[in-house]
Symmetry: C2
């Protein structure tokens, strides 16, 4: 409290600025927000005093009036996967330009944490949410209910379809088919697949692309060579060890994987087993994360435009927020094949 009985917690309010000037708060508000009908001289005086007093507008109060927070929530499943920080970089790029702040939450692939985070974001009245689902997000009704509360949502990378929610992803299925076709072109026949969890779109789509490639090439699919596993290095290593334990005639001569981390884990397993890449077993990844180009041998993979996914997703969400009639759409960005040595190509 000051001596005249007014409270001061150090943060200057409009009212205090107004009192210092002998004006009403409304006039001060108008001046600081560049509204019309303020005497230019008054305005200048107000701005000077406001600056001198260290006034910062209180967006909490503004939000309460305007029902807009200029804040979006970003829900990612694993910040430790190099793909996601790049996506976040893209999201930040677009949203900071538009003067939105982002709440980042990391679910660590835990659906319960994901749900709690989203509840908290709702309570904080974010204007919209960008979501990449965890591998355990199997209860679609949660997102359906969420959507029915009226909050704007855009999925990215890992989407749930048929909910009337936009999705920004990559052409997973086609890219997966292409990289598999590349292995086939290089002469491999006994091609195995380290598949991601079927609960997420990327898991299903990439596996589907793999199957398409084999089927199109008339190669019979040996289900024993398709190993369902997780998305981490450790998962990849474990799954590869299972394949290496197969009888020699069943062992694959090439392996396609759901993503780079699992490919890196598989490479470790193959090396430890004493086999060489690509001579004994060829391998390809999916993501093109930072390690792909420097691993020995360099990993043939699919380049996923993570930064662009982030930009596009943020852009779509902002449009959905600001435009009542923004249509729901499914965007597939192009992920292209990056040929290195691990697949037996010599380029």
């Amino acid at each position: 409290m000051t001596k005249d009985g007014k409270k001061t917690n150090g943060i200057v309010t409009l009212k205090e600025v107004a009192a210092a000037l002998g004006l009403s708060t409304m006039t001060v508000s108008r001046a600081l927000n560049d509204r019309p009908n303020v005497n230019p001289e008054t305005k200048k005086r107000i701005q000077e005093v406001a600056t001198k007093m260290g006034y910062t507008p209180n967006h909490v109060a503004k939000s309460l009036v305007s029902n807009r927070t200029y804040t979006i929530g970003v829900v990612i499943p694993e910040i430790g996967h190099a793909f996601f920080p790049e996506v976040v970089r893209g999201i930040d790029e677009i949203s900071s330009e538009a003067n939105y702040q982002i709440f980042l939450t990391n679910s660590s692939e835990d659906f319960e944490k994901e749900k709690r985070s989203i509840e908290a974001l709702r309570a904080k009245r974010v204007d919209g949410i960008l979501v990449s689902t965890s591998i355990k997000s199997t209860d679609f009704s949660f997102f359906e209910n969420l959507k029915n509360t009226g909050i704007k949502i855009v999925f990215f990378d890992r989407c749930i379809y048929n909910l009337g929610i936009s999705c920004i992803g990559v052409n997973d299925r086609v890219a997966s088919r292409q990289i598999t076709e590349h292995l086939i072109k290089n002469g491999y026949k006994k091609i195995a697949y380290l598949s991601g969890p079927p609960e997420v779109t990327i898991g299903r789509e990439r596996l589907a692309g793999f199957r398409e490639a084999l089927t199109n090439a008339g190669i019979e699919i040996n289900e024993d060579r398709i190993v369902e596993t997780g998305l981490t290095e450790i998962d990849g290593k474990e799954a590869m060890n299972k394949l290496l334990a197969l009888p020699k005639q069943d062992r694959p001569d090439a392996v396609a994987t759901v993503n780079d981390p699992s490919a890196l884990g598989a490479i470790e397993a193959i090396k430890e087993y004493g086999l060489s890449i690509p001579e004994d077993i060829a391998i390809v990844g999916f993501t093109n994360e930072v390690r792909a180009s420097i691993i020995d041998p360099p990993l043939t993979t699919i380049n996923q435009p993570a930064y662009d996914v982030g930009k596009r997703a943020a852009y779509k969400l902002l449009r959905t927020i600001e435009n009542e009639n923004e249509p729901v759409e499914n965007v597939e960005l192009i992920a292209n094949l990056v040929i290195r040595k691990s697949c037996g190509s010599n380029s």
Copy 2:
């Protein structure tokens, strides 16, 4: 508008729940916040109706009353550096446990963007800010003024000292000295250094550690072999090329670097120049990011406990927010030497 003239934007308020029950908002508020003096039966009825109506508390309004947002701002200089996502993971871990949300902003090493972000965070009335400064954050008075506004701040990794602001970092100087000593122990004499920008603590401290090691060992410091450069791969490559262009007798037999990315860039330069590592030139990094262990040859480096830095920084900030008398402190976490092949050791 509904037929009885009340507005509904889809989001249910306390007042609406109260009206539906024929109670006052206060009773409903008490019931939903588990306050005493509510009839257990009434409480149960209120909770049921609130759930049925899909009520979510409005934290914006709560914040206006309580003057607390349960929100912290995180300002990082480059989300593309693998170190920072790990730090963010640690921050998220602690803050989500304590029911705080984090605003993430990426300055891209741009001081102006950093300042704008911090202003925005202030306007959003975050309870505190975690900052790792950009390499261009040279105007210390900005942070001094910021601190004087009363907002709680904790620096991490890249700090500014003597401002009365806590800092959670690692023992950069000592670790840098140790890794240089390791090179000396391995018999190298003409040791060069790719130094980071002197504007950030890590740049100054690590260089100081390097100098200490040479001085302690009685090795004269050749200033031509200390190249000031940035923190990225490209910077490292450029700087290394300068060293490679020195007359042969001046060329270093070993290189220490400010961080792993610059070491990786330098490795590229050395390889392209046709020299081999560590036979012709040994090299060491600093960070122990994901690529360090899989590059050829594996990179000897300093393991920086990024995740722990994030946890400790978040913890310190929350304590500073919630405890009026929390002391200012400088915490140095221990970063330890990780010996691999690039330094000429055979372990």
